[in-house]
């Protein structure tokens, strides 16, 4: 058929293909989705790398993210400014990590960033409490939340500083049975 697309240069598409887990067609489709989110903001022509960012509120309404209790944290951890405004590069990055083809190690790194609410490179008790409340929609009593968080830290903390560093987190995830490991991130795109 040979319909030459004019959204990206060939060189840009090659770079995307090498740096993410997507093929050319999927990247063009992603651009279509990105454009749909804010048609007046996102240009159709990306050959000159325009600096366009879409705000958090528009991205968390995507059907893949809408039911996810951690959607705000996910978008924030992939944005450069930490506030959730994604450029197209960040957008592609996010879906590449969340796709089926990304390996467990990469997903574990970003999972750690997502669960780290106060961005101090450790999962302390407050981070865990916030995670738990988001998971159970705040239906557990405060004592139950406290008990669960204490037990979770006690189980996973290997170096004894009563918070979870990335090494502790990765070790805990790596011991999970295979198929449950991948359940964690399987955003079907």
């Amino acid at each position: 058929m040979g319909n030459k697309q004019t959204i990206f240069t060939d060189e840009q598409l090659d770079a995307y293909q090498d740096c993410t887990f997507f093929t050319r067609k999927e990247i063009l489709r992603l651009h279509g989705r990105f454009h749909e989110l804010a048609p007046h903001l996102v240009p159709m022509d990306y050959t000159d790398d325009p600096d366009v960012k879409i705000p958090l509120a528009l991205i968390v309404n995507m059907p893949e993210l809408k039911e996810n209790p951690f959607r705000n944290r996910i978008v924030e951890s992939f944005s450069e400014d930490g506030l959730g405004n994604l450029s197209f590069n960040d957008f592609v990055d996010m879906f590449s990590v969340l796709s089926e083809m990304a390996p467990r190690e990469l997903k574990a790194i970003y999972a750690f960033k997502i669960y780290d609410f106060n961005v101090d490179n450790y999962l302390c008790k407050e981070d865990l409490e916030k995670t738990l409340n988001k998971l159970t929609k705040e239906e557990l009593t405060p004592e139950e939340v406290n008990l669960v968080c204490e037990k979770a830290i006690e189980e996973a903390d290997l170096d004894g500083d009563s918070k979870l560093s990335f090494a502790d987190f990765e070790n805990m995830i790596s011991r999970a049975p295979d198929f449950l490991r991948y359940r964690m991130f399987f955003a079907c795109f």
């Binding site: 590069n89 995670t131 159970t136 004894g160 990335f166």
Partner: protein
């Protein structure tokens, strides 16, 4: 970029109240990362690993530019090898994608998983696996049993069956009449010589059956071992692992609000139940001696009552078997059908009623919830397999003493079991579950609806059902060679019926089903069923007086046919076979196995000790780090205090 990183790290370390260290995600960017043993074993110089870097897009592009420039410096050999590796990897990925697309019902199972959870999907995946197993068995039978018999028209001794020429629908259910003389049953196949002395249909028949059992054994052992590695080798019981539930509890694939609501309540119930079990364990540790003694006697009495129930049901099965073998002739066809089907009906009723009673009994024994579920499950497994075993035992003892054609009768009994199992599933789906769901939907506030409630899809009992049906297929395959084909049709029907039940009739489960440890259990049960069928086959071949029909009748028993074939083989092969079947070889084999097992067990013990030691080292390293950071901060503070005072 590297200098920038180093400066930033240094700044962090020098601040007074700094506790932020480098072993966070940024450690991937420090220089020491490249020297770690785990990184060195990976191939960092390929484009493939570029995708795995946790950096933002712009930085990845910069690295890619650098790699491209590096590429021009490498020779032809290295770049050729790299391109070959990339091509190979792409081909392997394509093959994997192709095979995963061949698996049927992928989309349906995905939808079920989203709506009902991983446990229900595991049931359907198990069903699909059994379908594949039966398909493989069918292919083997078609090649080794059906085709030779149908292809060779001439030859074979004469066989006179005692069945009449009725040809009614009843024959389909009883396996008599035209069905008895068809390829479905054992008596159709005769000993026909194809080419040399060794190649005859009977030997092919026997070889095909043995191959089926062997292949099934290998596949199931492999499946069991793969699951076993994940559950117990890690030394951690994930059923109690809270940290795992908190961090890996959410399924990021959920897009449906209904499914999200379900998942939230799953997780909440899981955590509440775990906390409940912690409280239970606290209560147990506070029991007084008097309470313990009373509990011990209570449990003893309840266990004896369970054994009494089991004994009673076995006696019932015995009477049903014996009574049903005395065939009634001049009665109405419904009564005749009921009489012939008496053993399967008894077994099914027993397997339906007794687990419910076990559930009630176990609530009095004062165990934690998980232990209660496991105990009921173990008792139900024992009931199911033992009732089948007892039935086979009484059937075989009866058939060896009384009947003319024991093989065909045995095949017919297995055939009847299979057909009745299908009927029972059908009745359960359409006459029990569907009306219950309909009542609850139409009149939700009535007394009846409140008492009955919507049926729940109890995963372990359903999987046990599948294991039972597969065991019956294996037991009966020697005397009813088309049983795997019938089984395939049956499994397909059951798949769609169960899907209907789950989607339309069942209430969503309240508790998440632990698939890993249970999958090991169910694969192990399948293995037990296979062993039971192999033992039954051995007993049958030895004990049945050969009838007037079939591939191994009269002089040409299984033993004779195989030994005749072995005699005609060339001398070295005969010597080899006689050596392999001798005691000396068996002794050497056992010795070699013992040595290998001992070395593996000792290696496992050494690994466990190493893991403990490494855990201790981690704690010590972390406290060393904290000590050093504090020392460093004190030093800096002292320097700063000295510096202004010297100005």
């Amino acid at each position: 970029m590297e200098d920038n990183q180093r400066r930033v790290n240094f700044q962090r370390l020098s601040s007074e109240d700094s506790a932020i260290s480098d072993d966070s995600c940024e450690y991937y960017q420090t220089d020491i990362y490249e020297h770690l043993p785990s990184t060195l074993s990976r191939d960092w110089n390929s484009i493939q690993s570029l995708k795995m870097l946790p950096l933002c897009m712009q930085e990845k592009r910069n690295i890619r530019e650098r790699l491209h420039q590096q590429k021009l410096k490498i020779g032809h050999w290295e770049s050729w090898r790299r391109s070959q590796r990339i091509a190979w990897r792409r081909m392997v990925e394509q093959l994997k994608g192709f095979f995963s697309r061949l698996l049927p019902w992928k989309h349906t199972l995905h939808k079920i998983e989203g709506r009902f959870g991983v446990g229900v999907k595991a049931y359907f995946v198990f069903l699909r696996y059994l379908l594949g197993l039966n398909l493989l068995n069918c292919v083997i039978i078609a090649l080794s049993v059906l085709l030779p018999s149908l292809y060779i028209k001439k030859g074979g001794p004469h066989c006179n069956l005692t069945s009449k020429d009725n040809g009614s629908v009843l024959d389909v259910f009883l396996g008599s009449g035209f069905l008895e003389r068809s390829p479905v049953f054992y008596s159709f196949y005769k000993l026909k010589n194809i080419d040399k002395q060794c190649l005859n249909t009977s030997l092919l028949f026997f070889a095909g059956m043995v191959l089926i059992l062997l292949l099934s054994f290998l596949m199931i052992v492999r499946r069991t071992v793969v699951g076993y590695k994940h559950t117990w080798m890690t030394g951690n019981h994930f059923s109690m692992n809270m940290s795992y539930k908190v961090f890996c509890g959410w399924d990021f694939c959920i897009q449906d609000p209904q499914a999200a609501f379900l998942k939230h309540s799953f997780i909440k119930n899981e955590l509440k139940m775990d906390l409940e079990e912690q409280r239970f364990r606290l209560r147990v540790s506070q029991r007084t001696l008097k309470q313990k003694v009373v509990l011990f006697f209570l449990r003893l009495i309840l266990n004896i009552s369970v054994l009494a129930l089991l004994g009673g049901s076995f006696a019932l099965i015995y009477y049903a078997t014996i009574k049903s073998q005395n065939k009634l002739d001049n009665v109405h066809w419904t009564l005749k059908l009921l009489w012939e089907y008496l053993p399967p009906i008894t077994i099914t009723v027993v397997n339906f009623v007794l687990p419910q009673m076990f559930c009630v009994i176990v609530t009095f024994e004062d165990y934690s919830l998980t232990t209660q579920l496991n105990l009921t499950l173990v008792r139900s497994i024992f009931l199911k397999l033992a009732s089948l075993g007892i039935y086979l035992f009484f059937l075989i003892t009866y058939l060896t003493t009384s009947i003319q054609n024991p093989e065909t009768e045995f095949g017919k009994e297995m055939y009847k079991l299979t057909i009745f199992h299908l009927l029972a599933c059908f009745c359960n789906a359409f006459l029990v579950s569907f009306p219950r769901a309909w009542i609850v939907d139409k009149y939700p506030s009535s007394m009846l609806a409140k008492k009955i409630g919507k049926p729940e899809f109890v995963i372990p009992l359903n999987i046990l059902d599948l294991v039972y049906s597969q065991t019956v297929t294996w037991v009966g395959v020697f005397y009813c060679p088309l049983l795997p084909a019938i089984s395939i049709v049956k499994l397909l029907v059951i798949f769609y019926m169960k899907m209907f039940t789950v989607i339309r009739c069942c209430a969503p489960a309240q508790r998440m089903f632990r698939t890993t440890s249970s999958s090991v259990l169910f694969n192990f049960m399948l293995l037990l069923g296979l062993i039971m069928s192999a033992v039954t086959l051995g007993v049958n071949i030895n004990m049945f007086v050969p009838g007037t029909c079939g591939p191994f009748m009269g002089d040409s028993s299984v033993f004779n046919v195989t030994s005749e074939c072995v005699q005609t083989l060339p001398r070295p092969v005969r010597n080899g076979i006689s050596y392999i079947t001798s005691e000396a070889f068996a002794f050497a084999l056992i010795l070699a196995e013992v040595i290998i097992l001992t070395s593996l067990v000792s290696r496992g013990g050494a690994n466990r000790k190493t893991i403990e030691r490494l855990k201790d080292m981690l704690v010590m390293c972390s406290s060393d780090k904290r000590f050093l950071v504090k020392q460093h901060a004190t030093l800096i503070r002292r320097q700063r205090r000295i510096a202004p005072s010297t100005e």
